[in-house]
């Protein structure tokens, strides 16, 4: 029960920080997506069921906070959460490189998928412009933040399993 509340609290805090601070952390117009980071972390720690539930909840928050259509982010993050969650048993251990690789690849998939759904709904942009302007920089930026966020959030969500942190790496 307390674990479920931990997940809900993690998503709520991610939503709050996304609304309050993320816009001010934008670099060259690329706003970090802390909700996405929370979803991937939950998925890798808890598995596919929690991953897709967290993805749906975080996606709805993301859509409601923005001005675009409601639903696309929930759809893409649900899929990301599920498929990242299927790697749960294999990835969540001592390592840090594999989860960060997953964060980067899932970030690219998320941005591409989100852009695709927006394009289908008539709100999209040119693929190559989006790729260079948003998708790649967004994936790199989120991965850089994951380097700081992932170990701590993962440890918070599942304290009984060991996790390599930045301090231990250095």
């Amino acid at each position: 029960m307390s674990r479920r509340w931990g997940l809900i609290a993690a998503l709520a805090v991610a939503g709050l920080v996304q609304a309050a601070l993320a816009p001010h952390l934008a670099i060259l117009g690329v706003v970090p997506n802390l909700l996405y980071l929370a979803v991937v972390t939950v998925a890798l720690v808890e598995g596919p069921a929690a991953g897709c539930a967290a993805g749906f909840a975080a996606g709805m928050m993301h859509d409601l906070l923005a001005s675009g259509p409601i639903g696309p982010s929930a759809l893409v993050l649900t899929l990301i959460g599920y498929f990242a969650g299927t790697l749960h048993e294999n990835l969540f251990a001592e390592g840090w490189l594999a989860p960060l690789t997953v964060v980067f690849i899932a970030g690219l998939v998320y941005e591409t998928g989100y852009g695709f759904v927006l394009a289908v709904l008539g709100s999209g942009a040119g693929f190559f412009a989006s790729l260079w302007r948003l998708m790649l920089p967004g994936a790199v930026y989120n991965t850089a933040l994951a380097f700081l966020v992932y170990p701590w959030l993962a440890r918070l969500l599942q304290p009984e399993r060991s996790m390599t942190t930045l301090r231990r790496l250095l």
């Binding site: 709050l16 996304q18 609304a19 309050a20 601070l21 993320a22 816009p23 001010h24 934008a26 117009g29 690329v30 706003v31 997506n33 598995g47 596919p48 069921a49 897709c52 539930a53 993805g55 749906f56 996606g59 709805m60 928050m61 993301h62 409601l64 906070l65 923005a66 001005s67 675009g68 259509p69 409601i70 639903g71 696309p72 929930a74 759809l75 649900t78 899929l79 599920y82 969650g85 989100y114 852009g115 759904v117 927006l118 709904l121 709100s123 942009a125 040119g126 412009a129 989006s130 302007r133 948003l134 967004g138």
Partner: protein, 281 residues
Amino acid sequence: MKLARAETTKRGGQRLLIAFVALSLAITTVYMRESDNGPLHGARRLALAVAAPASKVGMLVTTPLRLVGNGFSGFGATKREVAELRERNQELLATVAQLEEARQQNDRLHALVGFAQRHDLKGLGATIIGRSTDSWEGSIVIDRGARDGVREGMPVLANGGLLGQVVDASGHSARVRLITDQRSGVAAFVQRTRAAGIVRGSIEGRLSLDFVDAKHAPKRSDVIITSGLGGVYPKGLVVGDVTRVDTERGALFPHVTIVSRVAIDRVEEVLVLVGQTGADE
């Protein structure tokens, strides 16, 4: 036994995935088909109202950090006899910074009011309390909402010209879609040639003037103003200046790049046009 449990968990996860995917698709479909007063649009207004205080706190938290970073970089007390003087100096610097901030805000507000008066526009001053939470859009959140008379569709100006349009209004806050947003479109014309076109934003945050007759193509430094067509934006508001014109052989329309006169990333106060006092609309 363990394998059977894993299989059950896997099937449960798949069922959950299908349910959430179906729910997401249903929500998207409903949102695209419902009116502005529909439940999902209402949920977004509620989210805006709930998130506005957090955005305001974020703005308040980051502004002093920027000011401190700019104003006090390089300061550091190392000797006891100068410590008091440094402390006093910092207090004075803080006071000066506050006074300077107030003076600059006063200047900006004066400029905004003057701009509105010159164009016979009835405006409502507002302060920006939040910015885009998503890289895919260009928007701001302001501290005026439906209870102050702000309605969806109202144009928003900043010192220098047109900034955007209100797209969501909750009780005490509203979201403004910037003209640089890729979904934005403004009916405009070239002030010198009167050639009409549509100013569009882009994913890169750049502005372009589309569908201009090649025979009346603008030149560099031409001014682009709103045409008033469509009834959203009043006629005569400055949208920006032409910086580049590319005419490809055989193309129906030239590609015209324009730059807004508004420093969109740095603007702090805006004017919501709640009505007009005598323009030619």
